[in-house]
Subunit: 459 residues, 2 copies
């Protein structure tokens, strides 16, 4: 019939066109369909599943996950933020407690929702089953090279001629470091003293005390070790957790080793005055991309012997770091680099806005004070910049308020006690890196507290 | 024009049909396209990337990975198995060494290539960024429930009224267990003795010696502790690594704690005589699905105090287990359960075939002998079944061959020395769980060795 139509002149030309168009569209539909199914073959079911879960609306106050809690229909349901409930997380729980305790870096979650395409990851069932990569290490050379590129882009650490080792978050790295550096002094009879100046991140102390090795002992903030010939390891957190200050080492001596915890040394939280250039520096994905759940950290190490000891430690501890985690970190850091300064712009903007709101809220108060910062020149943004810390280090100024945590708790706010950081309980740490919901509720509770204070002063 | 055609009677009805078909196909192409792009939105780029990498042909002797080595065009290239090389891994390296050293469980890789759809995983950029799941633990309750279902399906472990804790592979679990169980005896002045009967998996010893806690000491296979009131932890590996035997505890006493390493207690390797029902049992994904690289293991624990100590240990060690790893394990175990007995059929078939080939190869030899097994009733397959061990525990029978590893090395075979397992060097462990290529080359080298032996006997 087609031939008949094509040859015939008794039908107008648009009819020929119509028939040809039909043929083209039919061909396109079939060939196109086949091509599309070739293009997405084994991954399409998983992709459809993941997208369906991502589509579940949780009113902006929660999210559903592939491996999430299941509802009646055996489908994942919304998992709501702290102060929200209901099937769509739409119901606010009025008198709920503001959680400002842990450092869960959910403030970056909206960034990844906005950059869903560049950060999506598809994993085949047979991806990296082996203990090792092809070079017989458990460290992905592609991921290592991305990390070096990122530090070069941000100018926050020198990586040239340094070794890089991975760990299950900075947590595993920090413990490995205590072992690796105390092994330096095998000739000595007495254990290595581990110190950190107050206020310090409590994990250093907890790890050393728990693992209870014959090699080391925790001494805290002991000034007698500041000029010493003894074997000392000093943890320096810079920016510091809890107070955000760019700390420097305080101990000096021929047998002193310093571990620089650089978890927060990113433009989200601090101006970058210069690339960090210490012998032993620790970073973590958690405070860079916000993926605390992935448990991925790394150390940049000058000395080969120390690097080799780190490798042995993490091998004996967990036979290296999950290949799934390394693949995820690879994808996320690739996305970070693809997007240029975007994640840093987003991180800084968010944290600065939060800090400013907190400062404004507490500015009317004589009861509570915050740590102070002096703006510094930032080589990443090429200008003088303010700090935008991950935590508020709040001091209760009234003499009777010697338990600041209890004062805030009475106002329905959970922070972390000063004594956890080796400090006085007159201080409390409030986390500013959590979800926007958590932060908003924190500000509401603080506003109420301050307005009561101001109200009582004026009456 | 369409209206004109529809109303007109001067054109034949097939022309109307043609135009309507045009409209339908045009609509279908556009609406269909839009629908498809709605269906796969943020994941399609990642899916296409992953499928393109999976399509890279490596002649069955290698594979390319998303985070793999890059070629000149900046695309991932083939990573070849040990004895193969070339851009497509098609070139055999003639005199290459047979690697039968590590327990890399690549024998299961073809299974996952065959089950690519059910095991594919799509991860959004914002998946599980938090340290914790919604129930404030770092343990996925969905994954935990799959693990319980799987043990019930295979009947290899009792999980009812038991706690389950996760770790970065059994490696992290085993170390945590040594700490958790030695903490039982805090009143005692002397450290807990850690023992394991020879031949034992070397990690137990290496961990205890390396972590050097004041709480425990490794004693090896010390028979004096067999009936004791002292604080003792015994590691029992069942099936045993290296010899595949269904070991039982040998130590008894009021202060004895036993850790059952059940890594190989799956139908791939052993008949299942009864569900394991010990106080402390350790399993790992590595020897079940073959995903050693994922670093995922779990312990099934009767006592709540011990469970809580495990939680604290792994928290201080790595703040729990990567959410990426848990998601991967979730997807893989879901696929395992979806496929019924398939992975066990595949695992057993493969390992049995390998064991039979090895037995046949060495049957002509008087120089080398293998461990022996008695078939047992298997409650999973409901019949008497042979063992199909993960490792061969080879003995060099000639008096002068007291270094069996060296004997095999001279024949271009790398095994693992007997002394690594606390045994004599007259023994060597050969891994049978590696890739088919590694196994084939091992058999070739052994055949040559045996034919030389037989040849020299007959001449």
């Amino acid at each position: 019939m087609v031939k008949q139509v094509l040859l015939s002149s008794k039908y107008p030309s648009w009819m020929l066109f119509s028939v040809l168009l039909n043929l083209f569209l039919i061909a396109n539909t079939f060939v196109g369909g086949e091509w599309a199914s070739l293009l997405l073959n084994w991954s399409s079911r998983a992709a459809a599943e993941a997208e369906a879960v991502a589509e579940i609306g949780c009113s902006g106050h929660g999210r559903a996950y592939l491996d999430g809690l299941l509802g009646d229909g055996n489908e994942p349901v919304c998992e709501c933020n702290t102060c929200y409930t209901g099937p769509n997380c739409s119901e606010f729980i009025p008198h709920c407690t503001a959680n400002a305790d842990g450092g869960d870096p959910l403030f970056l979650e909206p960034f990844w929702m906005q950059h869903s395409t560049s950060s999506a990851l598809v994993v085949s069932g047979w991806h990296r089953m082996s203990y090792n990569y092809n070079d017989n290490t458990w460290i992905s050379s592609q991921l290592e090279s991305l990390i070096r590129k990122l530090h070069a882009f941000v100018s926050n650490a020198v990586t040239r001629n340094r070794y890089i080792v991975f760990g299950a978050g900075s947590t595993q790295i920090l413990n490995a470091a205590a072992y690796a550096l105390s092994l330096e002094n095998t000739s000595s009879q007495s254990p290595t003293r581990v110190i950190a100046s107050v206020p310090y991140y409590s994990l250093y102390k907890n790890q050393v005390e728990y693992f209870d090795s014959e090699k080391f002992e925790f001494e805290g903030d002991d000034h007698t070790w500041r000029n010493t010939s003894a074997n000392v390891i000093e943890f320096v957190t810079s920016p510091n957790n809890p107070d955000g200050q760019l700390n420097k080492a305080i101990v000096d001596g021929p047998n002193v080793k310093t571990i620089y915890d650089r978890a927060y040394y990113w433009p989200h939280f601090t101006p970058i005055p210069a690339p960090a250039d210490e012998d032993f520096m620790v970073f973590t994905l958690s405070k860079l991309t916000g993926h605390a759940g992935s448990r991925f950290g790394w150390a940049i190490i000058k000395d080969e012997t120390v690097f080799n000891r780190m490798i042995i430690h993490i091998q004996l501890n967990s036979l290296g770091v999950s290949k799934d985690t390394q693949l995820r970190a690879f994808k996320l850091l690739k996305a970070v680099l693809e997007e240029g300064t975007e994640i840093f712009d987003f991180g800084y903007r968010t944290m600065k806005m939060r800090w400013d709101r907190l400062v404004t809220t507490l500015s009317l108060s004589n009861r509570f004070s915050l740590q102070k910062f002096n703006p510094q020149y930032c080589i990443f943004y090429c200008k003088i910049r303010d700090f935008s810390p991950a935590y508020a280090w709040v001091k209760c100024e009234r003499e009777e308020d010697n338990d600041c945590h209890a004062v805030l708790k009475a106002a329905n706010i959970i922070g972390r006690q000063g004594n956890v950081f080796g400090s006085k309980d007159r201080y409390v740490r409030l986390s500013l890196v959590r979800s926007q919901d958590d932060f908003d509720i924190l500000i509401q509770r603080l506003q109420k507290l301050v307005s009561e204070e101001v109200g009582s002063q004026t009456t």
